[in-house]
């Protein structure tokens, strides 16, 4: 006779948004395990209709407070594609810089504040304020460095200003950007400490090879731009039309939209990017991976958090290079804004949000007003893979106490760093 366990977690804590875990174990065998999204839907795709593209791109960042820059960039790229607008090299570089700031702050939030407490066996970061105040300070410094890298480009991280279709309404003088380089050097030191701190942690052991999907770019480790690559394929495909590549589908026990490409499920996010684009990481990032024992390729979902640390190093090193390129190229401060003419058209914007590949798609009429909007967000794309990992993992821990199983499943959910507020059309009706 095996054990019977009934697991039910209402509103998993330390994730962005609201999700529940349920699992049923009968006679030591897993009967069912699910991660249900129970966030209040907000219907962006419905109410963006009728708004001018200037308002659409302004409002799109409000989908998510953590990945506001990602949503804004995806919306700008889709809108620029629809309206046939080209951007300058400077705009491209500045967007990538703001983007690195977001990836850093989002990853640090997850590494230290959301996933981190599990590594140090505390329920939240707050007990650590007394236990290890310097570590908490380091976490806050790094998080704020990410914010400030975005801030120097777009005024604040949540919600970005100044970035508009065609360019920027305001660009700082070169001095402001140069001043960030000392902060970046300090940040890289803080990341070395972070690597040392995480070298000693013991992650649950789960290995399951899956399909890894990310953007990929011939010239750089892809965040802001690139084509869609699956680890199951040799060649990437263009993001437009993503609908012909990535299939959203319903399952009989849920009305959440799941996603598949070559297999019934795939993983997107830091670990997928690490697996697909490892060669393009900066040297420091590769060293961090080595120090953390993260080998390429890696099929352990719990190490997604470790891949995020590696990406933090990459983002800071690349941000330093971007600033050099901008400053040495003679930055043009003030307003740099291409004339954007209202016209009918449709376009797709694909970016790598901190949690994975993100698509925005808009159609505009000849007055530049939105006729339709669609977003496919990384957390939705990861749901099927997360549940597949749960199914693979539960049998291995079925004999543990209810508390341990619950905690490990919460940790597995957190490893994916789900961002549920984003979920414009992720919903679960199992309730």
């Amino acid at each position: 006779m095996g054990t019977n366990r009934s697991i039910a977690v209402h509103h998993v804590t330390r994730i962005e948004g609201h999700g529940d875990i349920t699992a049923e174990i009968k006679d030591g065998a897993l009967e069912q395990v699910r991660f249900s999204v129970v966030e209040a839907p907000r219907f962006f795709e419905a109410f963006l209709r009728g708004h001018h593209h200037n308002e659409v791109t302004h409002m799109a960042s409000r989908i998510c407070g953590i990945c506001a820059v990602s949503h804004k960039c995806a919306a700008l790229k889709a809108t620029e594609a629809a309206l046939g607008v080209a951007i300058s090299d400077q705009t491209h570089l500045l967007r990538r810089l703001a983007y690195h700031g977001e990836v850093l702050s989002s990853h640090i939030l997850h590494i230290y504040f959301l996933a981190g407490p599990d590594f140090f066996d505390v329920p939240s970061v707050f007990p650590l304020v007394d236990q290890d105040r310097e570590m908490v300070r380091r976490a806050m410094r790094l998080k704020n460095l990410g914010y400030d890298l975005s801030k120097v480009v777009v005024g604040r991280h949540t919600h970005p200003i100044a970035m508009v279709a065609g360019g920027f309404t305001f660009v700082h003088q070169a001095e402001k950007l140069k001043a960030m380089k000392d902060r970046i050097a300090e940040g890289l030191d803080d990341l070395k400490e972070t690597v040392r701190t995480l070298q000693g942690i013991d992650l649950p052991d789960l290995e399951r090879e899956t399909e890894y999907v990310s953007l990929t770019h011939p010239d750089r480790y892809a965040f802001y731009d690139g084509e869609i690559l699956s680890s199951d394929r040799d060649e990437p495909v263009a993001p437009d039309p993503y609908r012909e590549v990535i299939e959203e589908y319903a399952v009989d026990y849920s009305t959440a939209k799941y996603a598949r490409w070559n297999r019934p499920e795939y993983m997107t996010g830091a670990l997928a990017r690490f697996n697909n684009n490892y060669e393009q990481l900066t040297d420091g990032a590769k060293t961090a991976a080595e120090d953390l024992g993260l080998t390429h390729p890696c099929h352990k979902p719990f190490t997604n958090t470790i891949a995020q640390v590696v990406e933090c190093v990459h983002c800071l090193e690349d941000a330093r290079d971007l600033i050099d390129t901008l400053v040495n190229g003679g930055i043009r401060p003030g307003r740099e804004h291409e004339n954007v003419k209202d016209q009918a058209g449709a376009g797709v914007g694909a970016v790598e949000a901190p949690r994975g590949i993100l698509f925005h798609e808009y159609e505009y009429d000849d007055e530049g007003k939105c006729l339709s909007a669609n977003m496919v967000i990384p957390t939705a794309q990861n749901l099927a893979n997360l549940e597949a990992d749960m199914r693979a993992y539960v049998p291995a821990i079925a004999g543990e106490s209810k508390e341990t199983i619950t905690h490990r499943l919460e940790m597995l959910v957190r490893a994916y760093d789900p961002c549920i507020s984003c979920s414009t059309h992720v919903i679960d009706l199992r309730k």
Binding site: H11, T13, R14, I15, E16, G17, E39, A40, P41, R42, F43, F44, E45, A46, F47, H51, E55, H58, M59, R62, I63, C64, G65, I66, A68, L109, F113, L114, P117, P123, S124, V125, F126, V129, V136, R137, M140, R141, K143, N144, Y147, V154, G155, R156, T158, H159, I161, A162, V164, F168, T169, F170, A250, T255, K257, R335, S421, H425, I427, L429
Partner: protein, 272 residues
């Protein structure tokens, strides 16, 4: 207002929103640690595993968009001595109320298609439309100096009224060139300040995220653009922005769709 005899217990809750306001609070860094040393944080789902039904001060972010959330906010109101609406979603509804323009089954069908049969959604309302709110912090996102100020006001038992001057006041103090002089339409003249006019400082127009000042003359921008004897600056704005009167007035609803919110209230009240 309340004078606390011992460390008050603080909880953070969120409803329909982007959770950006509570995350912005983490930016306070060392100041946050100082502020939190005066209270005991007992629930904050986004960053803590602990949960509690016992708290004195509740910070609530987000709009109320489901029947079950009406019950949840009412229960929070019953437990908390002080309820704070954190951010524009909680204070004046933000973009959430824009869906109220359509019947709920229509927006559900559009986003979820055939699989949306059981979606629980009601017209969006700010928290203050559902329960009494003691302190309001507006902004999308909240401004950190204002969060700090309100926090201190709560701890010291003082009331707090959100700033009720237009954004233009802060624009002038910052020496920012008037957005109209750049040929753009700006909601600053009728929008509450408190943001330190950050959007206009970065070359953008004010989009009205803190809602209208009391007794705002919302007709004024449209009237200034459609009169016979146009001021040269406004003539340039009108030339660059071929908007109808209705389109200009519609801009006021992007963050604060008050008429629809009233409809939402009636619709929801009718269900009870």
């Amino acid at each position: 207002m309340i004078h606390f005899k011992k460390k008050p217990r603080v909880a953070f809750f969120d409803f329909a929103c982007c959770e950006g306001c509570q995350l912005s609070v983490l930016e306070l860094e060392e100041k946050l640690l100082d502020l939190l040393s005066h209270v005991e944080v007992v629930e904050w789902r986004e960053v803590m595993s602990e949960k509690s039904d016992e708290y004195d001060i509740a910070f609530c972010e987000g709009s109320i968009t489901r029947e079950r959330d009406v019950e949840r906010i009412e229960s929070i109101r019953e437990r908390a001595d002080i309820l704070v609406s954190l951010g524009t979603c909680a204070s004046i509804s933000c973009h959430n109320a824009l869906k109220n323009r359509w019947p709920m089954n229509e927006v559900v069908d559009l986003v979820y298609g055939d699989s949306g049969g059981h979606i629980d959604t009601i017209p969006a309302r700010p928290v203050s439309d559902v329960v009494e709110v003691d302190y309001q912090i507006r902004g999308c996102p909240v401004s950190l100096p204002e969060f700090e100020t309100v926090f201190k006001h709560i701890l010291t038992g003082q009331s707090y009224d959100p700033p009720n001057q237009p954004v233009c006041v802060e624009c002038k103090l910052n020496d920012t060139l008037c957005v109209y002089e750049k040929g753009m339409v700006c909601l600053g003249p009728v929008t509450r300040c408190g943001c330190n006019a950050i959007c206009t400082a970065y070359g953008d127009a004010c989009q009205g995220c803190r809602g209208l000042i009391d007794d705002a003359n919302t007709e004024a921008p449209a009237r200034a653009l459609f009169r016979e004897d146009l001021h040269p600056i406004m003539a340039e704005v009108a030339r660059k922005n071929p908007l109808t009167r209705e389109e200009i007035l519609a801009k006021f609803t992007v963050y604060n769709d008050t008429t629809q919110s009233e409809n939402g209230k009636e619709a929801s009240d009718g269900d009870e």
